[in-house]
Amino acid sequence: MGLLSLGTPLHWKDAKGYADHVRRNGIEQFLNIYRHVKDRQRDRLRWGDEIEYMVISYDHENRNARLSLRVFEILEVLQREENEAQGDPEKMAKLKTAWRPEYGRFMIEGTPGVPYDGDLSSLLKVESNMKLRRALVQAQLRPNEAIVCITSFPRLGTLGVFLDPHHEPNGDACRSLFTPDEIINPHARFPTLTANIRRRRGAKVAINMPVFHDVNTPRPFHDPTIPVHRGLFPEDEEAAAGAALPDHIYMDAMVFGMGCACLQITFQACNINEARRLYDQMAPIGPIMLALTAAAPIFRGYLADVDCRWNVIAQSVDDRPREERGLEPLKDSRFVINKSRYDSIDCYISTDSQLRPEYNDLDLVYDKDICQRLMDNGVDELLARHVAHLFIRDPLVIFRELVDQDNTVSSDHFENLQSTNWQTMRFKPPPPNSDIGWRVEFRSMEIQMTDFENAAFAIFVVLLTRAMLSFGLNFYIPVSKMDENMRRAHRRDAARTEKFYFRKQVMTTPGDKLGPVEDEYELMTIDEIFNGKADGSFPGLIPIVNSYLNSINMDVETGCHLSRYLGLVRARANGSLITTASWIRQFVQKHPAYKHDSVVSQEINYDLVRAMDEIGRGERAVPELLGNFA
């Protein structure tokens, strides 16, 4: 896959001239799909998880854990079975696993070979398939290598050696002070994406995460490890010119974000309306699951005052020039845009009567002409606005050879924009001429160290969608409140200490008298959201899921496994078990070499990664994290 040549990627100065062409044809491609499959009905539930792994290379002698850049060799072996099965549906249907490269050259994405179906007993395959994936990668590793589920690699971009093999940070694509281009997936698309984001923005991306102020951390904190006067690229001046904020961990490359790993779930809905409903109803769950799965408290060698990756990724691909960010009057840009391409969703899209117009309370930025064109072609206003909102962006990577396409068989131009809008939820039209239905992707969760935890969170989300559809649950809150929840989810130990906006009455009956929207939600703890309120006024998501399960004939084995998974989620939510982020933070703070100055040294990182590796392999007991469930 990595060797596949798609052609010549265009430099931003050439690519931007094709932006309208790609948008125009992308919309035509969307319309062709929409016309063709908008009435498609009765697709089965199919779903799958995606796990991103990092390959670690230990240097035991120097007590260093590094990211291995050998992933493409490993991928070639892992993908062999799938490549050989191409064109043979019988073989494809028997595939156990599927593998993809990711943005980081040290990352591997693994999924089940074929999607799971709606049968409850298929939930038992999830964890064992994850274990198989781990074993398959493991079998390709050298003795000093390991496959570890880490959301954000703690020492990425630090001084010294964090890559195997080591490369100096002097690449022309990202022009980073901290990371070399060799860390990027070598496929032409990725370095171009990196460079074109910088070129479009007119500067390097500037990621700033608040540093965790420990007792010995200087205040104000000015990171001494930023080579502010390097003078290799013009962009090297940006850090000193204000891009690097005091009291923050500054990062300047896409890989700091897109090099993070996450746990994503994709569902096939029975038709377009169910997909739109799933999209809306699961959106408010996104920030809540982000807080509960928080696993990223360290960036570029420093303890951060946040626990999650999300904002790092948002800032790492923020291609908006100053005009689009509202810092200068619009001259060359068409819109002032409130968010990065990678962010929480901006609007609900369901046709359901539960959706009150008041919930869409952001002043949605969208391309009015595109919206009108979609509506002229029979797309309803809500969906037209959603697509026209995605299409305010420019396509970042265009291959010269693929500029002209047959819009009846290709969706490349549509996907060019669709797949570079990385939001908390993704609404996915079927690929042209396929037997795949309308799908929705749930994207907020961080990766956990063990297969058991990742299975538990994946399964919880799947069961919640089933309970939601069965009971007709209503999770709507205004979009602005979801955004506020995203902010809160990042805070240190948010799962235990923060409150989140959540809907008070999730069981609504059509015809209920509607009160003011502000009366429909309130602030709740994660414990209350998942386990219910003590006064009985809110049932809790886990009791709701149990209520769904209780109405189903389920064999004992399935029941026992599901109760372990739900038990873990319940315990994380009520705070009796800590989040992955809290565990990592505590590990660092208790490490004998830690100087209480926020610095996660090479030695601490070595011990931390080894511990995470052992936990992932089930060789280290962590009752504070897993209780007695695993």
Binding site: R42, R44, L45, D117, G118, D119, L120, C270, R466, L469, S470, F471, G472, L473, M507, T509, G532, P539, P543, I544, N546, S547, Y548, L549, N550, S551, I552, N553, M554, D555, V556, T558, G559, C560, S563, G567
Partner: protein
Amino acid sequence: MATLCLTTTAKDARTLIVQSGNLMHTNVTGLLNSALKRSQEEVLNAVSDTFAAATASSASAETVVLDDQTGTLTIRHPGGVEAAASHAKADDLDDLEVTAKLFLWPLPDGADVTTVATQQVDEALRQLRERVGPARIDNFTVAFAGFKLDDDEQDDDDDDVDSVLQPEQSTAATKAWPDMEYLVAVWRVLEQRHAAGELQSLGVCEFTKERLATFLTQIKVAPATNQVNLADCCIMPRTLIDYCRKNDIKLVTHSDACQPLAPEPLTQLWRGQTTKDGNAAARWVVKFSVMLESRGILHDKGYILRADVDAGCA
């Protein structure tokens, strides 16, 4: 709210049939916690909700019907009538999967077991069909109201039965309960329906290994499933697991209260609809659910109750 006495329909009723609405939509199921004790409230709430909805002024004529000949008063939740109509003309019939559970109460003294068993099963299945339409009934389980695994004295002493399976206060007062003669008679009727293709598989509930072994010698069609209550633990008697595996009986979970409908609250509910002298005693309850199999969605769920009644308002 109009009580049944005021409408005079209940006066001559001797038998009460209650068909609930779709609990997935009336929210009765969801509002309740999953806790074991609550599943009693679920049946009661479903019945009470049906009384209220069926006697509301907006309800149609078919929601409260008295058969003068038999003295049977049938009360249907309007939502249930609606659900039934939609099931009847479902275009995805092959995707609907019904599971049902029949709870039995002790027979009145002197009843002829075979005759009553036949009547009860016929009536229960007729009512179930009316409510869920022509969809495939995948599993039909029979349970004794007020009976659970550890009430069974034949259970092995050395089984490692976890604390949640310890006996609670049994509400079944009758000494001959569970009445295996009654169950066998019921099972024979179910076997015929199974042979006719109407019920895909049959199940029992809270049976120990010993009870299963005895039961298997008395019947022709072996149960495909045995329901056990796991609450939040997964410790099961080893002998039961082994026996079921050997005999191809699947152990499945349930979380129904062993007594799904206590006598007093039902009587109170009935009196609320009639007079303070009214009486009601459950004969059977059917719990059912309708799944959209390909999507894992619970489409419909409800209860049907049959009780012997006396309105006390003559």
